[in-house]
Each structure stands twice: as C-alpha cells, then as structure tokens.
Symmetry: C2
Subunit: 406 residues, 2 copies
C-alpha cells in the first residue's frame, strides 16, 4: 500500500486549507496513492495515532471547493516543537509506529518555521532508520518570513485584507473636520511584511496610511511624535500603521516601555499592544483625539476577502509538495520562485528544508524608506501581484459556506 498522511501546523491562515486541497487533488491526479489520512492537531496526531480517513473527501468536489475557502486548519493544529531525536526519541518512535500501522509512504506537513524544523528532523530520522517514508513540507504563514520562497501562502490574502481594511478605515477617519490620529496595529513580531502591505491601500490612488513603521527599524518615540505632528499640520485625519513588534534602540518592545507601569484592579500587569501604547503616547504628548485599532485575529482569518492569487498558489504548492514526495524527494519544502512582476509569473520549486527551518526572512533595507516611516517603490512592486484577484466564494443565508471536518 502507498498511503499518504497530511497534517497542518502553526497559526491559522485563510490559505492553509487550500494547500490541503492541493495535496488531496494531487493524490487523486497522480494515481499512486491508495488511501489518504489526515493527522489531527498537527504532528501530535501522528504521535498519538489520532488520524482521520480523508479518502472520501478526496473525491467530493463540492466539499473540496468549500474547504478551499474555509479559513484556519481543518485538521486542527499544534505548537509542538520536536526535540532532536538524540535527546528524546520517544515521539519519533511513536510517529514511525503510526507510519507503519497505516502504511504511510508519503507525509506532507503544511506549516511555518517550526513545522519545517519538524520536516527536517523527521526526514533525517526516517533516513537514519532506513524507512522509505518521504517527508515533504508545504509552506504556510501570514508572516511571509520563510526563507527560500519568494513569498508564503496565506500572506497574500492577509495583505489583501489589510489593504482593503486600511482603505476603508481611511474613508472612516476622513469624515470629520477635526484633528484625530488613528493607529492600526498589524501582526508581525520580527518581520514587517504585513504592516508594509497596508501601503497597498494606495494602489488605486487612495491615501493609504500616512505613516508606516515596520519592526525592522528601530522605533524612536520622538521621531514618531514629530512625524505625527507634521501630518496633522497637513490634514485633520492621520492614519498610522505599526508592526506589533516595534522596538526601541535598546531592543525593548515599545508596548512594554510605555505601558509597563499599568496594573489593573487585580494587581495584574496590562499587556497592551504597540498601538495602544502609542495611543497613550499621542494622548499625553500631542493631546488630540486618538484611538488604536488592532487587526488582531481577523487579519489571518478573513477568508471572505482572500486573494485569488494566494489561494491558487496555495493549492499548487500542495500539489507540488506531493509530486516531489512521489518523485522520491524528502526533507524538502515546496516553494515559489518569482520569474517576473509584469506579467506576474512564478515557478514552483522545491528547496532544502534545513535552510528554511529556524531562519526568518525579514524585510530588506531597500524596501523601507530612508525616513523609516514608509515603504519604497521596490516594496510596492513586490507586493502588488500578491493581492490580485477575487475568489468565487459561495454564500448561504448571507454568510460564506464553510467545511468543518470534525
């Protein structure tokens, strides 16, 4: 028997189920797979023998279509970091037992950085133990911080949500003729790609954010206050986009510095976000109307405004990962290589997963304006194709259809 196991891991995105669908389509197309299983809650499902049979789903086109546009991980997820097998072999032995029990010839793990570390370690372990299970990774992360791939599935849809939302908020904040600052916090502890995508609100000539601060640049509160005052002298409504992970020159998170004294009635520390901290700063130092907005979980869950480019590529990367496994590749990750911007053309390749795991691709200097409060044209050229196209989402009773596996 040549059976396939697939699992999903890490934080949710709106494209990770599209990649699962790509794997299932591949299993149908390539004709070399007997049965398809899904591990529940990531690699933990393989460790605990907690699988579900996906063979019927594989042939149900209507369900696959719905699954493609359902956000988050339909198979569940985990935040499990595998230790080196030399330190703790137990989980490896359990996984191998599961592989043997279900005749797993191919294992596809869809996830981000930590998941690629698992792919790396597990593929090595299989090789060491002469087990011919092929272990392949398929990328996924809204953070867009994976090495060796031009961009990451899930990012384009999050960027489309952010660009659209910023363009809508720009309309919202322009409505009154009084000075007001609105600070929008966007996900990204170490990589500012998502925050940068707020600039895409300008693609049709709109204003977009007046100021953009990425976590790659040292954040200086005095420069920030000066920037805001300058913008307020030009127009009443000022819109600011900041990465959640902005840090000062000592490397401390801005949110911690400003809000560290705050304690609630229970004596518990307030964990304020970066935008909330800056809101307090503007209130104290400038004194105008100010509010903060966190795009929070919505930026990774808003499947209703997914990018067609992102979803299509996510499906293709699932197919690519399986096709590589069938071609005897192991310990590698399916990836996107950009050929050109105009027309936007890409190739699907595979890359060594050990060069992906435990690396973080942050925003290069040339993509950040020298002033440190905006992005460059180069960044815009990189981002623009990724949010293009709208998905053919099916609604029922006014809300999008979803597929729930368990």
């Amino acid at each position: 028997m040549n059976n396939l196991l697939v699992a999903q891991s890490g934080g949710p995105t709106v494209a990770i189920n599209a990649t699962l669908v790509g794997v299932l389509q591949g299993a149908k197309i390539y004709g070399k797979i007997d049965k398809v299983y899904g591990a529940k809650y990531g690699i933990e499902g393989a460790i605990k023998d907690n699988l579900i049979d996906l063979s019927t789903l594989m042939s149900d086109y209507d369900k696959l279509d719905t699954l493609t546009y359902t956000p988050s991980s339909a198979l569940g997820s985990c935040r499990y970091k595998m230790k080196d097998w030399r330190q703790d072999e137990t989980p490896y032995k359990s996984i191998i037992e599961t592989f043997k029990k279900y005749d797993i010839k191919y294992f596809i793990y869809i996830g981000g950085n930590d998941s690629m570390d698992t792919v790396d370690k597990l593929s090595e372990y299989c090789r060491m133990n002469n087990l011919d299970t092929r272990v392949m990774g398929a990328p996924k992360t809204i953070d867009n911080d994976l090495n060796l791939t031009d961009h990451c599935p899930g990012f384009g849809s999050a960027a489309k949500y952010i660009a659209t939302t910023i363009s809508e908020l720009d309309r919202d904040i322009s409505v009154y003729d009084v000075p007001a600052v609105t600070i929008v916090e966007i996900m990204g502890r170490n990589a500012g790609w998502l925050t940068a995508s707020s600039a895409l609100a300008r693609v049709n000539g709109g204003n977009g954010p007046d100021l953009i601060y990425l976590c790659e640049r040292e954040f200086d509160s005095e420069s920030f206050l000066r920037d805001v005052k300058n913008k307020l002298s030009e127009k009443p409504g000022v819109l600011v986009a900041v990465s959640e992970g902005i840090k000062d020159k000592s490397g401390a998170y801005v949110s911690d510095i400003i809000s560290s004294g705050a304690v609630d009635n229970f004596g518990h520390k307030y964990i304020a976000g970066a935008a909330r901290a800056l809101e307090q700063l503007v209130r104290s130092r400038i004194g105008c109307k100010v509010r903060s907005v966190e795009l929070n979980l919505m930026q990774r869950a808003a499947a209703h405004i997914a990018s067609e480019t992102d979803i299509s590529e996510s499906v293709m990367l699932g197919q690519k990962a399986l096709s590589c496994a069938i071609n005897n590749e192991t310990g590698r990750m399916a990836a996107v290589k950009r050929i050109s911007n105009a027309p936007y053309l890409v190739e699907y390749i595979s890359v060594p997963v050990n060069e992906v795991a435990n690396h973080e691709k942050t925003v290069p200097s040339s993509y950040i304006a020298p002033t440190g409060n905006d992005v460059t044209q180069e960044m815009m050229e990189y981002l623009r194709p990724l949010i293009r196209g709208e998905i053919n989402l099916k609604y029922e009773n006014g809300i999008p259809r979803q597929l729930v596996l368990f």
Copy 2:
C-alpha cells in the same frame, strides 16, 4: 429654482453613501429638481455656506455605482447638536441664509438620532418663519436603535460583517486542542442589536458564539465566570460576544469597574474596553489562555462585505425621503415597515421625526434568552433577512474601488 441640498451626519456606516445615491437618483427621476448641492461636514456645511455642486455627479452612473459601495460619508460628517432656536437662533439664521442663497427647496439630512433632532428643529423653524423649504430625514446607524423604523440602514451590513467574522473566528479558535477563551467586543453602548447579530454565524449550522451578553441585561461577573467554566468543560475553544456597553447592577460600565486602577507610565488612566476587562477577569479567576478582540471601526467600515438587502434598502430610503419632500412633507423621516419575514417583504413609509429624535430603540426582552447569555429564536427571525445577498463590488488592483468626492 427648485434646488436640493443633501447632507450626511453622525458616525460612518457602509450604507450612508447608498442613501445619498438614492437621493441623487430621485433628483434625476422625479424631474422637479434643478440643481443638487451637498453640504460638507453635515449641517455645519449649511451653517458655514460650505457646499459642493453634485449636479454632474448625479448623471454619472459609473461614479454613482462606485459611490454606492464606498464606506463612510462621502460628504463628510459632524457631531453637531443644534440647540433650540429660542436659545440660540444664530445657526438657524445662517442655514436659512444658505437655503435662500442657493434656492434650496428641499433639504434631506441622512443620519441617526441627533440628525433627526436637527431635522425636527429645523423643519419647525422653517415653518415658523414661513419658509417653504421641505426638511426630510433619512435614517442611518449601525446601532439599529432608531424608533419607528423596523431597522436602520447600515445595520444589516454591519451585522453581515459581524456574522461572517464570528464564523471565521470560530474556525480560528477551534484549531488547537487546549482550553482557550476568546472574547469579542462589539459596538453598542445602550443597544445590543449588533452584538446579537453575532448569533447569525449559526445560520448554516455553525457554532457561532458560545455565549452572548447584550448591554440590555445587567452583567454579573460571577454568572459570566460560571458560564465560561461550563462551556470550557464541554469544548476547548470558547467564543464569547459582548456589547461594549455591558453594565453591572449599579449601572456602572464593566470596563470601568475592572480596569479603573490601571494607570500607565505617564500616570494616565487606561481606558480599557469591556472585552479587555473581561480578559483580565478570566485570566485572574480561571487562569486559562484568554484573549480579547475588538471589532472596532471595521464593523462600521467593512464595505467589502456589505449586505445587498441593506444597500438596496438604503438607496430606496434616499429616494423615499426625497419623494416625500417633493410631496410637500416636512419634519418627517423615511422608514422601513416590515410586512413579512418569509418571504421578506417591506414597505417604505414616512414617520414623524419628533417621535424618532431623542428616542433609543433597545432590544426587547423577548429577543434575549432568559439565561441572559444568548438570543432567542424570535431575534434570529428578525435578523436573518437583513444580511442576505452579496453586492456586486468592483475591484481594481486587488482592492475595492472607492469614490472620493473631496
């Protein structure tokens, strides 16, 4: 000359421009209007003689189509509350001067409670001064709290955004197999209609929020903690929807009670929202993973997921308001009367604006579950038709097109 002046007021919604379009369509159709002006920044534009000519826009169908789906008030807005003319006649005199200067025969004011108060006072003032300008109101508010209309333009779209977002968050929080509570704060200081619409995430069999607390019911922290613990014993991911305006039995805002001690490094008080306060409460008293999410400005600005029912009705109400004015009505508001739920049928009527202004329609008891932590079937029947249908939104370069008037 029979000229028309139109203005928008109050907080932004995604449907208020659709009503403006309805007024402009009416001006084109009824054939009794010579020129159309818009007052910038609400009634303040009429006071300060700050108008723009909308006559060209009126005939540009492509622009009108884009304007229909552009969120917020294209003419700008204000939060101006008119005093009684017996107390301060100055602004009334300025308005009348503007009316005379531009030969304004019809004035349509699109807005919420305060705006209807302006319509009431201004129409009375015109009558008292033998001025034949007809002053009509067209409703708008995501809060859905206006008297004498079955529901309010802008509410259905906000409800569709909330229902869709809650269904997406429900997928997001279901991904890990560990106990976690997610608390979503929804707009509404005194009326819980928007929070109630989170229950629409269940229309296709989905789970929706596990617990729903409206501001109409006294909020008891101990009952809340008990409810959350009960739900956690049934499933790992618990989703809670709360109105921003939930109050305890003394009438104090829950956010104030729990967070009142919090002060930041500047010595400034933290203004935490209700969800943030409850997040701290769950962290202290239950100790599991917990986070809060504010739907914030997005719930009133997310035009990309507007309800077709809402947008169509908003256009119709703009037309209705103008048609009433042309038929010599004044001091009244266009409104929706529901004829039946299945099929969903409505009539457009006009109602006396003095019975709308300064009233607030809160959620009736029969719409709230006796347990106080959910809504009833009656509420669901009321809400369901309002989010139906998707708009034919035009995208350009990956984000929705918008029309900016100035």
